[in-house]
């Protein structure tokens, strides 16, 4: 009884060892990536949700109309839209303030935006020394 069990246990241990050795000898199973050495070749899926960015076209214009839908959609109060008046006294975007320190990357502001003025960027290395270093103004100039 004991002998057969000893034999059986040894056999199953050896079978387990076989799996380990197979993993060792199968290079296709190696999935480890050398970060940060591979930073240049890192690929992100299109829908990757990183820090919110505001795309600007080649003339430096954005499409934000300061409708504040994203501000209302945000669950954390991460976005603040400060408006101003342009030369024709029309209400336009002054500053799009985005506080990354409170952002949960939930994608609700992007879904709320009717003009595709903001999107999720691919930035993820966000280390900072102070919390207010993570407050960004996303627009480069005032709206028109």
């Amino acid at each position: 009884m004991t002998l057969s069990r000893l034999f059986h246990d040894t056999l199953s241990m050896l079978k387990g060892m076989k799996v380990t050795i197979l993993y060792l000898t199968r290079p296709s199973r190696v999935v480890t990536q050398q970060y940060p050495e591979n930073r240049e070749t890192l690929k992100f899926p299109e829908r990757f949700r990183g820090q919110v960015v505001m795309p600007h076209d080649e003339k430096g214009e954005h499409t934000c109309t300061a409708c504040t839908l994203c501000e209302k959609a945000c669950p954390n109060g991460t976005i603040s839209i400060l408006t101003t008046k342009n030369i024709a006294s029309k209400r336009v975007l002054g500053e799009f303030i985005y506080r990354f320190s409170t952002c949960t990357l939930c994608n609700l502001c992007i879904e709320a935006c009717p003009f595709d003025a903001i999107r999720m960027g691919h930035g993820f290395e966000m280390a900072a020394y102070k919390r207010d270093e993570l407050d960004y103004v996303l627009n480069k100039k005032e709206g028109r």
């Binding site: 059986h8 246990d9 199953s12 241990m13 079978k15 387990g16 076989k18 799996v19 380990t20 197979l22 993993y23 199973r29 999935v31 899926p45 299109e46 829908r47 990757f48 949700r49 959609a73 669950p75 949960t104 990357l105 939930c106 994608n107 609700l108 879904e111 999720m120």
Partner: protein, 411 residues
């Protein structure tokens, strides 16, 4: 200066004022205090000088997988009582939900059971859909089933790796993560996130499946079958693992029911209940799958039930990937979700058991009250009965087979 005068703001208490602790017995303060609950009182010293003692396991213990503190009353190595202390990661998510709209609340449920975040999102969606009579298109339902079953496999793979780690098999942890990473990458393509998904919406999901997703799921199913067989050879048939789990940590069927255990923990004890089959939601009634059951309710049964569940999930995935139709992925999106007054409940089967969402609405954009019924909390309540009389080393393995997620317990 008189003796009663305080000499400064910080004054160390004199050593003689500390409670009398002798090497041969419990602290006198503990023994004499009648106000302490039974779990905090030690029995008197035995004639041979031996005595019981307390051990604080956690909140930083690696095998609790989070900030859970277990106060264990021990006699030598034997566990006499285990008292879990909760609340280290309590974030008042349910209270926060009262100040957020229904859609905004959904992203908080990601942060409860973070390994079943898709399934938690689905539960909130189901409750809102029930309240507002929102239908889901055919393709949307298939997407839900595929994503939820992927999530279940992903969660069980992490559990399998962590289980191996608790047993001392570090290679199991790495192999589990290799397989899990494939599913995580699928999710990254699907919704852009790896852990906190926020993908489902009332009436479907917030985006269609990306290009080539179904093909990748089919490939994954084949790979998973192969890997699960390997995992069985590596861990399930390992004599050391069997020695440490078979017959250890017994939970009877009756006690599992009265503790409110659900999911694999209850099914390992022989409770034949799975929300997907018994209180079917989405389109689970269209798929062929078995609900694996255990006979003894020991640690090995809980292990085996989860391994079998992964195989069943692969089975569902294959059927769903073969039958997914073209068409809309979401019914017409509403500008805002104003839930009519009333209370609504929806339940889903997460990787850990029954997760329920109870919404009370007063006909506004924000819930009047939200309550989550999380599986981890109820499963944890059985830990005292499971570990009583066992050894301290078995407490770690039992804790691992319960598959607790601490943010799910504390919410």
């Amino acid at each position: 200066m008189s003796e009663s005068m305080p000499q400064g703001p910080i004054q160390p208490a004199p050593i003689s004022a500390a409670p009398a602790v002798s090497r041969t017995g419990a602290p006198d303060a503990v023994k004499k205090s009648g106000s302490l609950p039974p779990g905090f009182t030690l029995r008197d010293v035995r004639p041979d000088g031996s005595h019981e003692y307390f051990l604080n396991m956690g909140p930083q213990h690696p095998s609790t997988h989070g900030v859970l503190k277990l106060v264990v009353r021990l006699d030598g190595e034997t566990v006499l009582e285990t008292v879990p202390h909760l609340g280290f990661i309590h974030r008042a998510i349910e209270k926060m939900g009262e100040n957020e709209t229904f859609i905004q609340y959904m992203h908080l449920t990601d942060r409860m059971d973070y390994l079943s975040s898709h399934i938690n999102n689905l539960c909130v969606c189901l409750a809102i859909e029930k309240a507002m009579n929102i239908g889901v298109p055919e393709r949307g339902e298939y997407i839900r089933v595929i994503v939820c079953e992927l999530q279940r496999i992903q969660s069980h793979l992490l559990w399998w790796g962590a289980f191996g780690m608790d047993m001392g098999a570090v290679s199991a942890f790495l192999y589990g993560f290799i397989e899990r990473e494939k599913i995580t990458q699928l999710f990254e393509e699907l919704c852009g996130a790896r852990l906190t998904m926020n993908y489902f919406r009332p009436g479907g999901s917030n985006a269609d499946l990306p290009e080539g997703f179904i093909g990748k799921v089919k490939t994954l199913c084949e790979e998973m079958k192969f890997s699960l067989d390997e995992f069985d050879v590596l861990v399930s048939q390992n004599p050391i693992i069997r020695e440490r789990t078979v017959g250890v940590g017994l939970l009877s069927k009756e006690r599992a029911i009265s503790n409110g255990c659900t999911g694999p923990v209850a099914r390992a004890s022989g409770v034949n209940y799975d929300v997907r089959r018994n209180d079917g939601y989405s389109i689970y009634d269209r798929f062929q799958f078995d609900v694996p059951l255990g006979a003894n309710g020991d640690s090995f049964d809980r292990y085996r039930v989860r391994m079998d569940e992964m195989r069943q999930s692969v089975r569902i995935l294959e059927q769903a990937a073969a039958g997914i139709p073209e068409g809309q992925y979401r019914s017409k999106e509403k500008p805002n979700y104003k839930v009519p007054a009333g209370s609504y409940f929806a339940a889903v089967e997460t990787a850990r058991g029954l997760y329920g969402t109870y919404l009370v609405s007063d006909n506004s954009f924000k819930p009047y009250r939200v309550k989550s019924r999380s599986p981890g909390f109820s499963n944890l309540s059985a830990i005292d009965e499971i570990t009583r009389g066992g050894k301290i080393a078995d407490l770690v393995t039992v804790l691992s087979t319960l598959d607790l997620i601490i943010p799910d317990i504390d919410r």
